[in-house]
Amino acid sequence: MQVTAENSPVIEVKGLAHSYLPGTPLETVSLHGVDLEVRGGETVGIIGPSGSGKSTLLYHLNMLMRPQKGDVRVFGRSLNDPAADAGEVRRRVGLVFQNPENQLFERYAGDDVAFGPRNLGFSPSEVRERVRRALEMVGFPFLFKDRLVSSLSTGEKRRVAIAGVLAMDPEVLVLDEPSASLDPSAKNDFFKIIERWKKVPGRAVVMVSHSMEDVAELSDRIYVLVKGEVVLTGTAREVFSHPDILTRHGLTLPIPALVIERLKAEGLPVRSGAFTVEEAIKAIEEIIGA
């Protein structure tokens, strides 16, 4: 495995444009020249209203789509290059779809996790080792491989699905709406798995979410995508200090920040920059006393 230096770009998207049904009366432009960069070690959040092109953008990051216009570079290699190897890109950039538990198809959990490594042509003992490591990463003992997929809960199925992606040993994880339809504890478990996976230097996460709370809590940097264009980018602090732009485009502040903004609007001298429950508690205690 090549080790990516912390902070060097792992994904560079430049001027990426995409239309569905191009050249027909039903042509719909999904992306209009998007620029995006992901560096080793980063968690990048992408937010945007429904139909803003978030999923289309994600599908380019592991070559499920090739650029119609513009360029996508993954670990320095342009996906426009006819020699770009989709298998290699998809191994290094693991994509976890919305509701990934719906795409489990094997009878036993272990076979589903083993599907990718087997297709990469690893020996049975290497496949076994990868399945063991991947199951452990999502918090299951190796023996979980013998469980029937049909007998698992949604949260367990989702962990098996992500183990299947982790078994490919990716360097970048791309997550499309990872927390939708998980109960609050399954969601916390899921984010802990991602944080633990990311501890290896150079690994990066790209996450699309409609939950402003999750994005505020987890992202180092955020891109706001609207109608196929990036309208805002920066740290959580920078992006969420533009509530006017966000609400104009179908987004909102995380709930704790919304509370703080409303208190400010009521004339209380509360400081900005609180995006999580803990930060909001601190900011309110400062004005009403602990």
Partner: protein, 290 residues
């Protein structure tokens, strides 16, 4: 008379177990529930607690393994009453792809009323109203399968509304929507409720549940808590044991509750929390002035 009456409802799924022996596992284990016309009920519970299975009994998509479900006096086991039951209870699912069948949004929304054999002008009126209520009027000439997940869900809501059901059942229908689309669906639901519609909504969002008059918490196929939002949110420890969480504003309120004059469990919206903080601040400056 009650609209929905559920008596000692059991439901088991059959699935293939080890060695091809068929196994039955119970998703619902003795549910008793009565819902009056015009109520707004949220159903919450961890993944696998039986929410979707319960909701599917409300318009006879599933019939009880044991026990009874009555809709306006019709027993869902009586197959000759299906038409009566389904014209009263409209269902919106989590994944709109399972619900969309036509090639144009407008046809999708008119499909139901056309099948009821209504006059053309009545169909037109219903379709226009339903599309406006769900905010999809501008998508009317687009093919549903090329819309984003959020837009598709709004089309599914519109197509159910066009049937003018007395009871709207939503199974995690907002989990794929962006914040503003989610709000517009919830505002639509609230408006329909204020006009007399009965609403039953399953969700993982405690903020969404907090908008209901009554919250039913399921665990392991049984009703664990049934009460108004304040009653439910005052049982924090039990909620955590059931893999659930408190709404964001209640968690903030718990952090500062010593300074507030209201129990945190009553502060389940941004507005109520802001009012409580303002009251606490006012009290403190009055005391300070004195």
């Amino acid at each position: 008379m009650e609209l929905l009456r559920i008596e000692d409802l059991y439901y088991s799924y059959e699935h293939q177990g080890a060695g091809d022996v068929s196994e039955r596992s119970f998703a619902l284990r003795g549910i008793d529930l009565t819902i009056s016309p015009g109520q707004y009920v949220a159903v919450v519970g961890a993944n696998g607690s039986g929410k979707s299975t319960l909701l599917r009994h409300l318009n006879a998509l599933l019939v009880p393994t044991a026990g009874d479900v009555w809709i306006s006096g019709y027993n869902t086991k009586d197959s000759s009453a299906l038409r009566e039951i389904r014209s009263r209870v409209g269902m919106v699912f989590q994944n709109p792809d399972t619900q969309l069948i036509t090639t144009l949004v407008e046809d999708e929304v008119s499909f139901g009323p056309e099948n009821l054999g209504l006059p053309e002008d009545e169909i037109g009126r219903r379709v226009d109203w339903a599309m406006a209520a769900a905010g999809v009027t501008e998508l009317k000439s687009r093919p549903p399968h090329l819309l984003s997940a959020g837009q598709k869900q709004l089309v599914a809501v519109a197509s159910v509304l066009a049937m003018r059901p007395g009871c709207l059942v939503l199974d995690e229908a907002t989990s794929m929507l962006d914040p503003v689309s989610r709000k517009s669906v919830l505002d639509t639901v609230r408006r329909l409720h204020s006009e007399g519609m009965t609403v039953v909504l399953a969700t993982h969002s405690m903020e969404e549940a907090a908008c209901a008059q009554r919250i039913v918490v399921l665990s392991g196929g049984k009703v664990a808590i049934d009460g108004d939002p304040h009653t439910v949110f005052s049982r924090e420890r039990m909620l955590r044991e059931l893999r659930l969480d408190l709404p964001c504003t209640v968690r903030i309120a718990r952090g500062i509750h010593r300074r507030l004059f209201l129990e945190p469990s009553r502060l389940s919206s941004v507005e109520t929390l802001v009012r409580a903080v303002l009251a606490a601040k006012g009290e403190r400056s009055v005391a300070g002035d004195g």
